[in-house]
């Protein structure tokens, strides 16, 4: 019987070690799937277009103009510089709105009571006249505002971003759950083994005692033994020493492995910026379109950080005085200082100094990346790479920006060929699409070195 217990013990001891090791390794491994959580967020391009808009205008056409011309001062459901636009077609008739949008000052000057009222109500801020808009354009805008206003309040961040977040969240939870379960099973197994071990030991002893054999307690430490002697004794246990060293090597190795792979990867990098600009406020709460400031993203390789004249479109008036006891917000003051702008006289001085932002996304020079290719041609949402930017008080690097990350995306996503005459002429693509096959950038040679490195 004794031999049984010895055999059992000799098996159990290494098993415990190995389990402990595997736990440790899993602990590291756990972080890896998080990196890979970029799941294919096939953003629904058309999020359930509202059935037949009641207005005669074309809301889709209006949306484009709205984003381009209106978002700097207006939001649908809250007052920004100008009033909230929701319900404007109930408040005013269409002809009045056309006149007002085209040249509000003319309407005010003509003494129109409604116009004067709005003008007074909003601190006599002059709305930019838009003589270039046709009646149809304005009707389209009105239609767009109406459809948008009729929608129930969307979750922060817009539909697409929300969907994306949900998907990646899901995939994260699944893998975490499975991992947790695994760890639990291992822990339970360990516990069972330990308990069984104890039981066997006790049984062993009972049997031996019953047989009347005096047993010198095996493994029981004499109380007089000092800590030093204990270590000396343990150090003579070759198995223990071996496994300890193995553990240390594996731990160091896996740490080193991880560290080396992450050299130059700055995911989560969140430098301090010269102005505490909040994307949460501007993109999240105020829902200013990304395009409004980052104009380059649609036509250039650089998304471009907006120049200060873009800021001044709104911050001429928006000074957040209500939050600073009537003083102009110190962050907005930084814009004024850079432009040498005097908010009282509304004049620009000569001592202008540009703002030195700190770059967050640093792609190496040998990798060519073009925003317009991804934003305008592929139609990818900004959030896919930049994360939930509309919730970021301070922006951080959301994606790892590693080549693996690029390539994964190029392997998984379909090329946005629809309605693009360029791809119509690429015959092979046409054939593949006809066969119902997936056309990813990889199929079109998007994984070849020279497509990004030249």
């Amino acid at each position: 019987m004794r031999s049984i217990s010895l055999i059992f013990r000799s098996v159990v001891k290494p098993f415990i070690f190995i389990s402990a090791l595997s736990l440790g390794v899993q602990g590291f491994a756990q972080e890896v799937p998080a990196l890979q959580a970029e799941e294919a967020a096939t953003a629904d391009a058309a999020p359930a277009e509202a059935a037949a808009a009641p207005s005669k205008g074309d809301p889709a056409a209006g949306a484009a103009i709205y984003k381009q011309k209106c978002t700097s001062c207006h939001a649908i459901d809250r007052a920004v510089v100008g009033p909230a636009l929701k319900g404007m077609s109930e408040r005013h008739d269409e002809q009045w709105l056309i006149k007002w949008i085209r040249n509000s000052q003319a309407l005010v000057a003509s003494g129109d009571p409604a116009a004067v009222k709005v003008f007074e109500e909003y601190n006599k801020v002059v709305m930019t006249p838009f003589p270039e808009l046709t009646d149809d354009d304005i009707v389209n805008i009105i239609a767009y505002v109406q459809t948008e206003g009729d929608k129930p309040a969307a979750p922060a961040g817009g539909a697409a971003a929300g969907a994306e977040g949900a998907v990646s969240g899901d995939s994260g939870e699944v893998s975490n759950f499975m991992l947790g379960g695994l760890i639990l099973v291992v822990l339970i197994t360990l516990l069972v083994i330990l308990v069984l071990n104890r039981v066997i030991k006790t049984l062993d002893r009972v049997i031996l005692q019953k047989k009347g054999i005096a047993v010198e307690e095996d493994g029981v430490v004499s109380t007089k033994e000092t800590a030093y002697e204990k270590i000396r004794r343990l150090s003579k246990n070759k198995k223990l020493v071996f496994f300890t060293i193995l553990l240390v090597v594996i731990l160091l190795g896996s740490w080193g492995w991880k560290a080396m792979w992450n050299t130059g990867v700055h995911q989560g990098y969140q430098p301090e910026q010269p102005i505490k600009y909040s994307h949460q406020l501007h993109a999240g709460t105020l829902k200013i379109d990304c395009q409004y400031c980052h104009t380059g993203a649609y036509k250039s390789k650089n998304a471009t950080i907006p120049s200060l004249n873009v800021c001044m479109n709104c911050h001429n008036y928006v000074q957040a005085t209500d939050k600073y006891n009537g003083e102009i917000s110190p962050e907005i003051m930084k814009i004024y200082k850079a432009l040498d702008y005097n908010p009282d006289t509304k004049e620009y001085g000569p001592n202008q100094k540009p703002i030195q932002w700190v770059r967050i996304h640093n792609l190496p020079d040998f990798a060519y990346f073009n925003h317009s290719q991804h934003v305008s041609v592929a139609g990818i949402e900004c959030q896919q790479c930049h994360g939930p930017i509309q919730t970021m008080e301070e922006v951080y690097q959301y994606s790892p920006l590693t080549m693996k990350w690029c390539i994964n995306c190029h392997r998984e996503h379909d090329v946005n060929t629809e309605g693009n005459g360029y791809y119509d002429k690429v015959v092979e693509v046409h054939d593949l699409l006809k066969q119902g096959k997936k056309v990813t950038p990889a199929v079109l040679g998007g994984l070849e070195c020279g497509k990004c490195h030249y």
Binding site: L339, I355, F366, G419, G445, G450, Y454
Partner: protein, 1005 residues
Amino acid sequence: MKSNKKYWKGLEELKSSPEFVEKNKNEFAEQIPLEDVLSEGGLNTVAPRRDFLKALGFGLGAVSLAACQTAPIHKSIPYLVKPEDVTPGVANYYVSSYNGQSILVKTREGRPIKIEPNEKSLFGNTGTDAATQAAILDLYDVSKLKGPKLDGADTSWDKIDSFVKGELNKLQASGKKIRIVSSSISSPSAKSVIAEFITQYPNTVHVQVDAVSYSGILQANANSFGKAVIPSYRFDRADVIVSISADFLGTWISGEEFTKQYVGNRNSASLKKGKMSRHIQFETGMSLTGTNADSRIPVKPSEEGPAIIALYNEVTGGQLPGAQALASNTAANTAIKLAAKELLQARGRALVVSGSNDVSIQTVVNAINSALGSYGTTIDLDNQINNYAGNDAAFSSFVKEMNNGEVGAVFFMGSNPAYDYSDPKLFTDALAKVPLRVSFSDREDETASLCTVLAPTSCFLESWGDESAVEGYFTIVQPTINPVFNTRQAEQSLLAWSENPQKNYYQYVKSYWEKNILPGAGKSWKDLLQAGFVYTGAKPAGSYAFAGDLTGVAQTIVSQSKALAKDIEVHLYQNGAMKDGRYANNAFLQELPDAVSKVTWDNYAAVAPKFAEEQGWSEFDLVEIKGENGYTIVLPLLLQPGQARGTVSIAVGYGRTKAGQIGKVGENAYPLAKVANGSVQFHTTAAISKTGGKYELAQTQTHHSYEGRNIVRETTFADYKKDPHAGTTAHGAAHHNYDLWPEHKKIGHNWVMAIDLNACTGCGSCIVACNVENNIPVVGRDEVRNRRDMHWIRIDRYYSFNDGGKSVTKEDEISELENMDNISVVHQPMLCQHCDHAPCETVCPVIATMHSSDGLNHMAYNRCVGTRYCANNCPYKVRRFNWFNYWNDSRFDNYLNNEFTQLLLNPDVTTRSRGVMEKCSMCIQRIQGGRLAAKLEKRALVDGEIQMACQQACSANAIIFGDMNDPESAVSKALRNERTYYVLEEINTMPGIGYQTKVRNIVEA
């Protein structure tokens, strides 16, 4: 028919000297001293194991440290107020003009980075010359003056203005002469500014002088037809062209325009119509034009005059004396007779040009052309070329005036006589007698350093202005950047000093155009800034008949010819890169190999191999050349096949002492020139003696050996007419090709290129365009000697023998040949062939080079570890290895090692670092950019929309790039041509670049 003509790149290859064979065994000239390293330290040390562990430990530590780094802080600074038309990352193009050619300037984030031809302009369907491509570097040249100077001290523009105005008023009162000395000015606005300056200071005279003068032609036309103009030559209308030492495809008058016209009669389209011009060249040194000629006959400078008289006599049946001097040169004598016959057959479609600056010679040439009915057809005197108006006689009398102390003030505007005048001592001594000496030069050059007031003018990329290269054709110069240094354009300075009511030159140009040019063309200023040019239309070309007595003229020619007939005759010329020396500080041009000799970074004395043998000279011997006036220079000898025996050719434009940090190259040959018959003549005599030293020229001609494989194809026009496939061996078709690799699937596009050897003249502007576009480093003279030039595209120049129509096929026959005078040349642009079965791809151990699905051979620099196996395995020898960090290494202080010139770098192309292989990428940034543009506009890609940098720079349209998957594309059509062949197709590399056989219009005598 397979041509087995023997082609060779240089004498060393022809003779297969042991050193040459040894050197060419290896891909790289120098071996890495690996054995030394290993035998000295390395493995033989006491405890290599410990060293290994040390290195390992250090490496691990370094990696751990690197892993701990935080992200680097990169600042991103947006505009304060963004200009509406500038988007960072998107290039803007502005029309401008350079040397009379309408150009487009590509700017990125406000800095000009590339010059491209304005395709929509009148003459500029494609192409610019090498100097135009390289001119962008001059904008950032740190050797330029950083601001105005007065008596050697930095000063402000205000102080300069008040000082100069004060002096001018004093001079005006005292009645002393004021002179503005400029190179030829074609700008109507600038001429008007000078005219108004003269109104303010009536003692002023404007003297125009050119370093390389055409006053002989101007004077001859004045004498013959009463019009002192340079006519428009129409090589496109000429079926028979006889050129007597005129390098009209390169440096003579307007090489780019003439190339376009000339090639139009020789390219694929013309051959399809069964038409090809015939070109006969008589010349001393081998020029670019000579290499392209169908027949080329070497003549000495002293034989040129007699040759022209003989031609006159043959054409008109006249009896001018002097033709008998040519009798000793039997080849030339018979050739002249044949040429006259051909010219007469092509009456009205014939053209005779001469590169001489002698009035007498040009007068006889006028008489010949008149007899051939060229006026009104191939020569247009009514729409003259305005680029050269320099008057040698006027300049000589100006120097006399200075010497007499009559001149009170002189302004130098784009001219540098202290360097390029034939008697610099006379000039500098005379200049010292002028109290107010003002220079507008952008740098403190040879003349400017003798001046008291330095008012540096801005680069043309920083200036407003206009040009009129040809009568009725006006181009606008508009700035693309604020002045980089504290400079002010010369016209603006003149406006300020002449108290002109209009102080702003921009306003001046604008109002000048709105008053004088735009109304006639029915265009607005805005139209002009978009189109870049206005053409008021050509006047009808009148026909002119030569009338006059040539006897006296012939006498002058005979006496001048006699004076030249010495033991050693000297022929001074310009080469295509350096031209007259104005671009000496441009590293791109210094490293551009000469079109014929393939020498970089130096000038040299070119002599015929047989002549050198007779004299006991050998290649690279340093010789002392003593001119007629006692001026002496020491130059290395270069054995140039095709050079007339008894002559030596020396390029001017070198030996600048004050051009800047890299301009001090070679020796100045201008003082060898002499003033005779009222003009500066580049034909002279000299005594030559060996100094005993040797100097190795940095020559690229035999850097890349093909081990005797036949890679050029050639045929004659007669054979071509019988069979368009003549000379083009379709080797691939005869074989069944077995592929080891699966076929590359060309999804979407298949990028290929077609190069017409019959269109390529070998000028080399594609090389410079490629350098600028692709951030290719300039490596300098020593590295070129080490065979480490970095050019992605090169022009291989092959010689072959013409021995009385027989082609020489075997090496042993070569030694039996009497001379090397009678050779012909083929130019072949060579660049990465983007093979479908690329030998380089299979040997790369790290898969840094691989094939793409659109037919390109990609090179991932950041993956390359520098084994250089690929270069060893490339049969085309087109891969280049970065031996150093050329852009950040003080040993290569050529152009990139400062913050100014680095602004020139194309931000879309990576700068390669040391230890990395590179090669032609087929301008992949342009392909990707063009595709993206189409995708953004949601339309199909248009053929011709994407152009390679080399293609764009080619005036001859020899390079066509496009998509082979589109059967209607220009390149598909070009590659379907019967003359198409692929280089080394027999080794089944399946190149992506097809060449078209060279055709020579040889008439069987």
